[in-house]
Structures are given as C-alpha cells and as structure tokens.
Amino acid sequence: MGGLVSLLGHYLVVGVHAVGRFTLLLGAVLANWTAIFKSRGRVAEQMAFVGVTSLPLIILTSIFVGAVTTWQTAYQIKNYVPMRYLGTAVGRAIVIELAPVLTALVVAGRVGAGMAAELGSMKVTEQVDALETMAINPVRFLVVPRVVAGLIMLPILTIFADLIAIGGALGVSVMFLGVPQETFISGFKLFFKISDLFAGLLKASIFGLIISLVGCYQGLGTTGGAEGVGRSTTRAVVVASVSILIADYLVAVLLFRQ
C-alpha cells in the first residue's frame, strides 16, 4: 500500500515536472517568435518537410475516410432519413471533425515522430550543446521554425483532406448507393456554413501546434543514445495523438454550444 502511494506520488511529481517543462518550452517559443523573420529559410524548409512527408498518406487516408463515412452514414440513416440529406451529414462530419483529426493523427505519426527523432539525435550527439556554445538559442533556431510550420501547414493539409474526402464520399454515393451527384451536392450545400470550415481549420492549427511542440519537446529532452531517440520518438507520437483527441473535445465544447 505504502509502495503504491509512493509510486503514485512519484508519477505525480514526474508528471508535474513534465507539464512545467513543457510550459517553459511554450513560453520560450512565444518569447522567441520574432525568429521567424530571421529564419524564413528554415521555416520554409520545415513547411516543405511537413507537407511533403504527409501529403501522400493524407490523400490515401482521406479517400477512404470519405468513402467509409458515407457508407456507414447511409447504412444508419436509411429508412429514417431521406438520402438527399446524405451529403449534409457526411459533409459536415468531414469538414468539422474527420478531416482535421485524422490529418492531425497522420501528421503526428509522420512529422511529430520525425521532429522528435531529428532533435533527439541532435541532442545525444551534442549538436544542441554545440548550438548553445555558439550562443545560438536552440529554441529560436530549432523549435520556432518547426512550430510555425506545424501551425501553418496543418490547415493547408486539412483543406486537401477535406476536398479529397468529400470526393471519396461523392464517389461512393454515386457509384454504390445510387445517390446522384446533384442530390449529394445540394444536400452538402443545404446546411453548410463557412464557419464550420473555419472551425475545422482552427482545430487543425491547434493540432499542428501540439504536434510540433510535443515533437520538439520530446526531441530536446532525449537522453541515452540511440535507444533514447527511439523512446522519444514513440513518446512524441503517443503524447501528441492523445493530446489531439483531448484538445478536439475541449474545442468542441467551447466552439459548438449545445
């Protein structure tokens, strides 16, 4: 019993420490945001990295997300709701929820892991120390460009995901469900609000911030050689994915009042 309590206490202390350090990193990023002017090249480099590494996978997942959502929605509403509302239900689900969240999860697995691995190996090979001895702030030099790239690229990738998923949805309705294209599209337009799209993109930005910040945090906190880099990489993906889902819920509560 005492052992359990002290173990829980230990985890609590470790957890509080981690939250503290994470907050410090966030603060340091905000304090150094002006670095984006001096390091435009590095921001562009990171944006390309985020976009190029994730786009193929996002295209693939989005097609199937659109397709399966349509199939399932049709199955659930048939006999209750006329099929002309299929586009309404599917379209909003994709734009508000599915495209931002699934894009973020895919990017967390690719880019978040990549950032943690790159910064982690820089840390264990003393490259981060070398930056510091050259009076170059690692947060300014390494973290800020990555965070900015995440913040900008996630909404852009999400727009791609929106379009492709809706394309997939349309394809399934027309080819397999016998819902004509015009019916689907007019259903989609029926209750569509531009604010839904922006809500989705706002979420995407928040997720982008989470992914890159968590990836950098785990990377810079790496200790213990190649094995440590592996640990940080896994942890970056797990922590970012869980945080994305939690943040998604919080944003939903704030943005979509019942």
């Binding site: 790159e118 490259q127 070398a130 009076a135």
Partner: protein
C-alpha cells in the same frame, strides 16, 4: 581569465569532480591530461555553462558564471569557441554552413562573405574542397578538423579543445598542434586543451595538469614533464599499468 574554485559535480551519486580548482591566465594554453572517464569533458562543459556544478565557482574575467542567467550566458559565449570531443557537427548542414553558422547568426556578413571566411578557416586546418560536402561524407579526422574550424570561425578569445588530435594521423596531428600554438602566439588566445596525447600536450601546453580522482594534481611545464616527481603523472606519461594509479589489473 578563467578560474575554477572548488568545483564539485556528481551524477546520480557518482562523484566526478571533487574540489577541483584551476587557474588559467590570459593568453596561455593549459593542458589537462587524465585517464578516460575521469571527467575532463565534464570539466570543459562547466566552463561554457553546458553543465552546472553542484557547488563551487566558475569565474570568467572575474565574473561568477554559476549565477548567470540565459542572456548573460548568451553574451559570455560569444567570446568562446569549443571543439567537442566527438566533433558534434550539424549533420543537416554542409561543411561551410557548419563553420559559418555563428557568423551568419551573429553578424551582418553576407552569405558569400561567410563562405569565404569558412573556406579560409578550413584551409587553416588543412581541408580544401570540402565546403559543399555533408558531415556524413567525411572521415572521423576530417570531421574533427571541421569542428576545429568551426570553433575558431569567429576569432574567439577563449578556445576549449576536447582532444584536438585524437583520431588524426601523426602528421595532421602535428599540423593541428602548430595551429593551436600559432593561435596562442599570434592572437593571444586563452585556451584549455584536454588530451591523452603526450606529444601534443608537450607541444601546445604552457602548463600541464592531470585530472585524477576529481582533482587537479601536479603542475608541470613541457620542460619539467619528464623529470616530474609526481608519481601519478609519471605513471601516466610512461603509460604504465602498474603504479600509484590502480588499474584493477591485480584483481583479475
């Protein structure tokens, strides 16, 4: 210029530095020898604030750096150059960018001007036609020399060398020794060099200390090194397994 006073540092209960003190005058090169794992690299890292002592003081120009905040360190580090034991080159950047990064970040020099400076510094360490290569394309000794070029790129006042000649052939090693001597004689650079290489220690050091059991023992000059009456240093420079330093050989 540099004073270490009563430095203590341990990692998870393992004592590495214990009441370690050292004084370095402006314009001199102090060499620290010592067995592998005694804490020489740890000592150098304390001088640039990469590690914080458990207790003791690190004075640079009379200022106690242990109390420095991040901004003060940023400021202080602009006068330092450091050669890391394992080179620590930025592996996502070409060689010239590695050497010139400090200049690109801290001065208003144009990229082509920085490129030329990098080229000159690389020539000083005996490297030509490597500017566009990536670190992964270099040999170990070449990496070390690129790291040295990076350490001297901004003409620092203080240079810390962690094993400058390790992994180099004797001829290149001697060339690096001469470069270090030249930097001291012509530019009056203050330096602390860590090495295992006794020939190099003789050549570059004004004074030579040995780090043993967390403390500095002996104070030798290149001339006095061979006649030293310090038993630890004698055993070290002769490279003998038997002597006052217990190698654990007898227990096998």
């Amino acid at each position: 210029m540099i004073d270490l006073i009563g430095l203590r540092k341990s990692f998870d209960g393992q004592k590495v530095l214990e009441d370690c003190s050292l004084h370095v005058e402006r314009g001199e090169t102090v060499v620290i020898i010592g067995r592998s794992g005694t804490g020489k690299s740890v000592l150098l890292k304390h001088l640039v604030g990469l590690m914080q002592p458990d207790s003791g003081q690190v004075l640079i120009n009379g200022e106690n750096t242990v109390e420095f905040n991040q901004d003060e360190w940023q400021q202080a580090r602009t006068q330092f150059g450091m050669l890391f034991q394992n080179a620590a080159l930025f592996d996502s950047m070409p060689v010239w960018d590695n050497v010139g990064l400090g200049l690109l970040e801290h001065t208003r020099l144009k990229r082509h001007e920085v490129y030329e400076i990098a080229q000159r510094k690389l020539e000083l360490v005996g490297l030509t036609d490597v500017e566009e290569k990536m670190p992964a394309q270099l040999s170990g000794g070449m990496k070390k020399r690129v790291a040295l070029a990076r350490a001297i790129a901004r003409d620092p006042e203080i240079i810390l060398y962690d094993e400058p000649t390790a992994g180099l052939d004797p001829i290149t090693g001697d060339m690096i020794n001469e470069l270090i001597v030249r930097l001291r004689d012509r530019l009056r650079i203050t330096a602390v060099a860590v090495t295992h290489d006794i020939a190099s220690a003789r050549k570059i050091g004004d004074r030579i200390y040995m780090l043993h059991d967390g403390k500095m023992v002996g104070e030798e000059t290149p001339a006095s090194l061979d006649q030293t009456d310090n038993p630890y240093i004698r055993q070290f420079i002769r490279g003998e397994a038997h002597g006052p330093i217990d190698t654990g050989l007898a227990t096998v």
